[in-house]
Symmetry: C2
Subunit: 329 residues, 2 copies
DNA sequence: CTGAAAGCGCTTACAG
DNA sequence: CTGAAAGCGCTTACAG
């Protein structure tokens, strides 16, 4: 007396399994009273179609994975966790409406065996070009889409993160005639950094200031950013604004400015990208960009489904990045 | 030419499907060179056992769900998101080592159909007694465990959140001879609030001060806490410390104290429970408690697996709550 | 309009 | 030691 099967339900209802199946799917007509009886019986017996059997038979998809290329339980500060999890929450909701379950993929440790992960599709979040998570899914023939273009993999469908536009929004806000704006991004070659750097170079040229960039290893987190900013601000007193896309780095910059006695925003203006709790609660609060992650997550799920079904995806419209001005600028 | 099946692989290797199956499972001896050949061929052909067929046949579990009773994409501020996601990250990792995938369950909307969610077990996070998520899984016969005891459901296995001990740690830290400590918790009847309130009453009696409690609707978030704290602090000038388990409420209290010109920690000491980003980044930073959520998450997964297998769970040892003293006290 | 039967891709008791 | 065959619980083309 485990869970009842379709056979048992059919027997109890005095019909064939075929009819029971159709009573649920509606794929062909079933006499209303018969249908009624079957459904009532089902609830009473606690019948639920075994999804494994259903999927095996129909070949339909049931689960998709969300994978971050960054450590999931970020030891070096939960900087990316908020970003990832905001996406996870939205993606889970969208997935549900498409009858899919969203599974979390823990980070690929050198020794970890991801053998258990068998999903029908995967969303990867801002991967680097040679991300192991990409080859993992590739090898098993699992359809992949990415949030943010994947450097070096033009074939992987992606939801555009509009990083150029995002960078421009920050830079235009930070700019004052005569300004020199600095840029601090991550060492890892993620597309968002690449696009930001490109937009920054262009902007500097247009405005006529000498660009100054620094790259920080993401693992180092806030502390690493603090050190770099200390050095940068000490040596380049003419820099009066810094664009720092990674929020954890941005708070490091704030700390460095404070150490050096540079008032924010009067002496130094700072803006970051992800408008998460970190930006909101920083002291002073950080000017950031609304990336519309809910739209991004939904679009990613849609894109993945289209890809799994070999459909040509309909480009989703994501709202343009919106500046959220706070005390840091 | 979709994915190869075990039959195709067997044919290619010149053996029976039986042998292929055993080559992978190791459930019975297969000639080393044969095994070698099969495995090599498998990688070359890109063969992966269809997990749906495997599970259907063996009846084994493959997925577990993590469900929050609170809105997942917390519209009213991401207060609980961090807490939940820290658990999600750890649980996903633990689940993986047990060959299980962790699925996120979006919040139960009145209109949402969770029909798609078919998991082998579920972990619910600090549910209230009559949580709809409980009856949802109950109805489908899905094994449930809870993080935090479920009020009114003594039969649901749970990982103890040690809320009494946590409350005591905060209270003992806040206490000074002659103090009067206030308490602000949530309206919802979660076990952690109940235990905290009980510990608080006891503590007040022992120390000989008159307890003063306020309850806030979780949906109201920081703003609601601000209003309540404003009123509370204005009317009870003798309250020189407040215990505020919910971090979003705690930052509201900080804001209220500032509005009233009450210096922290000299005039007023504040402590909160969850040591997340909010507590760390608040101004002043909030004294909080290390709840060892990684251990809690791991224990919950273990407990769930034991429950699914009808095994008697071995009580996991969670480290006692550890105070993290910061500037707010 | 309804049901018997084949088959999705595996695993494993059973037979040789 | 190895393989043929049954069966996990469904869905759906097919036959009546």
């Amino acid at each position: 007396m485990g869970k009842p099967t379709i056979i048992e339900l059919a027997r109890a209802a005095g019909v064939s399994p075929t009819t029971v199946s159709h009573a649920f799917s509606g794929h062909r007509h079933v006499e209303p009273e018969t249908k009624e009886r079957i459904l009532a019986l089902a609830t009473r017996m606690g019948y639920h179609a075994n999804p494994r059997a259903q999927r095996l038979r129909t070949g339909g998809a049931s689960t998709i994975a969300l994978a971050s290329s960054m450590p999931f339980a970020v030891a070096a500060g939960p900087s990316k966790l908020g970003f990832l999890m905001e996406i996870a929450a939205s993606a889970a909701m969208t997935a549900l409406t498409r009858n899919l379950a969203l599974c979390l993929v823990p980070p690929l440790q050198p020794d970890s065996d991801l053998g258990a992960i068998e999903v029908d599709g995967a969303i990867v979040v801002e991967p680097v070009g040679d991300d192991p998570i990409i080859s993992f899914f590739r090898n098993r023939g699992t359809p992949i889409v990415s949030i943010g273009r994947v450097p070096g993999h033009p074939d992987i469908p992606f939801v555009d993160m509009q990083s150029q536009a995002t960078a421009r929004v920050m830079l235009e806000h930070l700019w004052r005639p005569g300004s020199r704006i600095g840029l601090i991004t991550g060492e890892q070659r993620r597309n968002s950094y690449l696009e930001t750097e490109a937009a920054y170079e262009t902007f500097a040229r247009q405005c006529g200031f000498t660009p100054f960039s620094a790259w920080i290893n993401e693992i180092g987190g806030e502390e690493a950013a603090y050190e770099v900013a200390l050095d940068l601000l000490g040596r380049h007193r003419d820099i009066d604004a810094i664009c720092v896309p990674v929020d954890a780095f941005a708070t490091g910059v704030l700390a460095a400015a404070q150490s050096l006695g540079r008032a924010i925003p009067t002496d130094l203006r700072v803006a970051t990208r992800y408008d998460g709790m970190r930006a909101r609660l920083a002291t002073p609060s950080l000017t950031a960009v609304d990336l519309h992650l809910d739209q991004v997550a939904e679009a990613a799920v849609e894109l993945l489904i289209a890809t799994m079904e070999h459909r040509v995806p309909s480009r989703a419209a994501i709202s343009p990045p919106g500046l959220v001005v706070r005390n840091s600028s």
